[in-house]
Amino acid sequence: MTSRPLIRCEQLRVGYRGRAILPAIDVSIGAGELWALVGRNGSGKSTWFQTVLGLLPAVSGSVQRAPDLRLSYVPQRLKLDELFPVRARDVVAMGLERNWSLLSMAGKRRQRARAALQRVAASELADQPFRALSEGQKQRVLLARLFASEPQLALLDEPTSAMDAVAERDTLRLLDTLRREHGTTVIVVCHALGLVREIAEQILFFDAGGSAVISGSTKDVLEHEAFRQNYQSAEAGT
């Protein structure tokens, strides 16, 4: 697919305190594409993710974003505060905040939050305290927040890690629907290789040793030698 790039990484090196942990990455991600980030734990996926989001500075190279790009992010659930006094629909309504909108009146936030929850089949959770939800339910609520934010580019860090296999499959299909119906670009960290093969058009693969980052079509990356070496045993069971 050729489309207007929303994100372009040029010779991007990511890492911490000026030390690169991965080789330079060149990748261009266009509007309406669905990318899967694949790699073993500790391979540098989250570091790249955070750099693209602007949460970490690049060690060298550059990340160019389309002007006025509407970004939204679903973090790993472990990073969220469990004690917060918010209901599920309050969390979803956070997706409606952008820039200085926090100074505006609440408006139709409640209806929009409910609509987003309905979209992920979680309407019944609307008035539940977020902290009382199961991990899988929390991830669905965060997914609803993403939908409510109507992003041009959605980045999700392991959004299905606490879900059962069926919920995981349907969540990834829902992301595919978001891409197809709204033209949203989706970048998702996912370990379910079977689903990645089914849904993702493109893959950014992070080699476990940090020696290579390979991008390309799903078919090409899955057949790449480095990928096969990393996932030989997993592939055998898929």
Binding site: Q50, P75, E97, S101, L103
Partner: protein, 302 residues
């Protein structure tokens, strides 16, 4: 001759004379504002920020005296106290994640450094120690009108700010990374919130003393979080408990002749003592009666 406790008529007479009116207003106002701000303090897990800010204020006052004695330069002690309090609070809005240091650790560092500084400087100005104490820590028994006015000014400003940015601030504390990605001014919100809280703590400490200020900034917030499940309710409960503690604590002290600050602390703690078992029982009942978590997957058809 046996000592009798003060009567209601004596209390009313004193009130009409205006003897402790400002002290009661100050207690209630500080309780209300700090109860409200304390919810954010507790949610940030920074309850000892009050102690660190108070220590920084003490260090500031001691420094002002030291400078006056050794350099013959007169600096207003209260201004130096507020400046150091704000500087301490401002530290917590730094991008600490890049320094690999938690806010809790930084809190400890700030507290220890300002405490050590106060002791060392105090050692050189021991004859002024009484003045420092008087400038820093009110007794909450009698409060000067100008302290009440200062508290009203900074308290209403802090309250107004936190009410206006409530939604954004909550998002920024709950999930700062996503809030930043969505363009919210997380750092600015944090910095403003810390500075205003520090300002209220400094001014309230000057009027009422350390103990009740610390109590107002922690206990009502914790109680509110136990009693309610939604932020607006938590904030309302905490503010109400804080205000009632300021008022009730003074009356308890008046009628039973206890120190005011300690009474305000005890009254602020009383709802927490009730809320803890209530919260525990409610949790257990909810677990017993709640249906299993629904497992219906989301629909790909929207």
């Amino acid at each position: 001759m046996p000592h009798s406790q003060p009567s209601w008529a004596e209390f009313v007479a004193g009130w009409e004379l205006g003897i402790y009116r400002d002290a009661i207003y100050s207690g209630a106002l500080a309780g209300l504002v700090l109860g409200y701000l304390g919810v954010y303090v507790v949610l940030r897990r920074m309850v000892f920020i009050t102690a660190a800010v108070s220590q920084a204020a003490g260090f500031g006052v001691a420094l002002a005296f030291l400078i006056q004695i050794h350099l013959s330069l007169t600096l207003p002690p209260v201004m130096l106290a507020i400046t150091l309090s704000l500087a301490t609070a401002g530290l917590f809005a730094l991008p600490l994640e890049r320094l690999l240091i938690s806010r809790e650790s930084l809190l400890g560092v700030a507290y220890l450094l300002t405490s050590a500084g106060s002791v060392m400087v105090g050692d050189r100005i021991s004859q002024e120690a009484h003045d420092i104490s008087a400038i820093l820590f009110g007794s909450a028994v009698l409060v000067r009108t100008q302290d009440l006015q200062a508290l009203a000014a900074v308290g209403s400003s802090a309250l107004l700010f936190h009410v206006v940015v409530h939604r954004g601030l909550l998002f920024a504390i709950f999930d700062p990374q996503s809030a930043r990605v969505q363009g919210l001014p997380v750092r600015l919100l944090d910095l403003s919130s810390f500075l205003l809280t520090a300002l209220v703590v400094s001014v309230a400490t000057r009027a009422l003393g350390v103990l009740p200020v610390f109590a107002f900034a922690v206990l009502p917030g914790v109680t509110g979080l136990l009693l309610a499940g939604r932020a607006p309710s938590v904030l309302a409960i905490a503010a109400a408990i804080g205000a009632l503690s300021g008022l009730g604590g003074y009356m308890l002290a008046f009628f039973y002749e206890f120190p005011v600050g300690a009474c305000q602390t005890v009254v602020a703690a009383a709802p927490l003592v009730i809320a803890l078992p209530w919260h525990f029982v409610r949790q257990r009942l909810r677990e017993l009666h709640s249906p299993p978590h629904p497992s219906a997957p989301p629909s790909a058809n929207g």
